[in-house]
């Protein structure tokens, strides 16, 4: 074989090997990210809600909402933001939720990291307390709606959304309709 034939063969092999390395990396991430985008939404939820007893109209009440975030995929996920709308159900109002939503809305809460977002490692999960504060002095209507119990229990309704990024990529997606509804009620926390 001539010298340029050998050189051409070497170039072909080098390109094929380096291309294969790049390709395996990209395909691995593409498949893992696709898996994450399909399954992540089914593994996000609200695990617990804590509402302290409201004792005065000008009280500052901090409501805790604990989110469960599971990542069954093989690639890490950055939590870009979580936001939620907090409602306190009025059981005497028998209208469907969309009709009475405005009248039972309390406040919004959320997690908006400007830097260093929370990261859910591959095949792991984390829980996050995301608090919301209602200041009775400034939000008299909100504290009034919050302080609504039936048989000593609160009946909160939470509608949350989550924005995430597949780690080390520019793929950003969101999960909507993370809902918390309780039939048994939530007793006031200590």
């Amino acid at each position: 074989m001539t010298w340029y034939g050998r050189a051409a063969a070497v170039v072909l092999v080098v390109l094929a090997v380096s291309g294969s390395i790049l390709w395996i990396h990209v395909v691995d991430r593409y498949v893992a990210a696709s898996d994450a985008r399909v399954r992540f939404g089914q593994n996000v939820g609200i695990a617990e809600v804590r509402i302290p007893a409201v004792t005065s109209r000008d009280q500052e009440v901090t409501v805790g909402v604990r989110f469960f975030i599971g990542n069954p995929s093989g690639i890490a996920i950055d939590i870009v933001q979580i936001s939620y709308r907090f409602y306190m159900d009025n059981l005497t109002d028998t209208r469907p939720f969309p009709d009475k939503a405005d009248s039972i809305f309390v406040a919004t809460g959320g997690y908006f990291p400007s830097t260093d977002p929370a990261v859910v490692a591959p095949r792991s999960s984390l829980t996050m307390w995301i608090n919301m504060t209602v200041r009775g002095a400034n939000q008299p209507e909100a504290i009034e709606r919050l302080n609504l119990t039936f048989n000593g229990n609160y009946y909160p309704i939470i509608d949350a959304g989550l924005v995430y990024r597949i780690h080390a990529t520019t793929i950003v997606d969101r999960v909507l309709g993370i809902v918390f509804v309780t039939e048994a009620g939530v007793p006031p926390s200590a």
Binding site: L15, L22, W23, H25, V31, D35, A168
Partner: protein
């Protein structure tokens, strides 16, 4: 007989290598959103890699008819397109998603991948023809080439 079989196998191996080189690099360049090891420009890769691999394939072909080389270049170009399309549908082939629609990517995006990768074939063929001409030029004059080794 054994030599010709061996030569055919080696030639096939290099056609496959050219297809792998073009297909994998073009696919990696198309999926820049997924954090590749090196960010590559799609246009540059399609033109550059197709031309270089074509040249290499042509340079290796010294004692055969040019139409054989053209057929090989076509075969490796089509192989590269097959690799690009396999990459696009990789999550379905891996069984992690039922359809690409769940990822929100439109059909036009996938058609764009296919359309851009189609450019591999003509550029690769042109590269192969240039490589063939170069190999003919570089070959010693006593073997029918244009490179006269007897010149001082």
């Amino acid at each position: 007989m054994r030599e010709s079989l061996q030569k055919s196998l080696v030639d096939t191996l290099f056609v496959v290598a050219a297809a792998i080189a073009m297909g994998t690099l073009v696919a990696a360049a198309n999926f820049v959103d997924y954090g590749p090891l090196i960010v590559l420009d799609v246009g540059t890769v399609i033109i550059g890699v197709s031309l270089v691999t074509g040249l290499a394939l042509g340079l290796r072909t010294t004692d055969e008819d040019p139409q054989i080389l053209i057929l090989r270049a076509f075969a490796s170009g089509l192989g590269a397109i097959a690799i690009v399309m396999t990459t696009v549908f990789a999550p379905i082939l891996a069984g992690v998603i039922p359809s690409l629609d769940v990822l929100g990517s439109s059909g036009s995006t996938r058609l764009a991948f296919l359309f851009t990768s189609l450019f591999i074939v003509p550029i690769h063929v042109v590269g192969a023809v240039i490589g063939y001409a170069l190999s003919d030029f570089l070959a010693p004059a006593q073997f029918g080439g244009g490179h006269d080794l007897t010149e001082p």
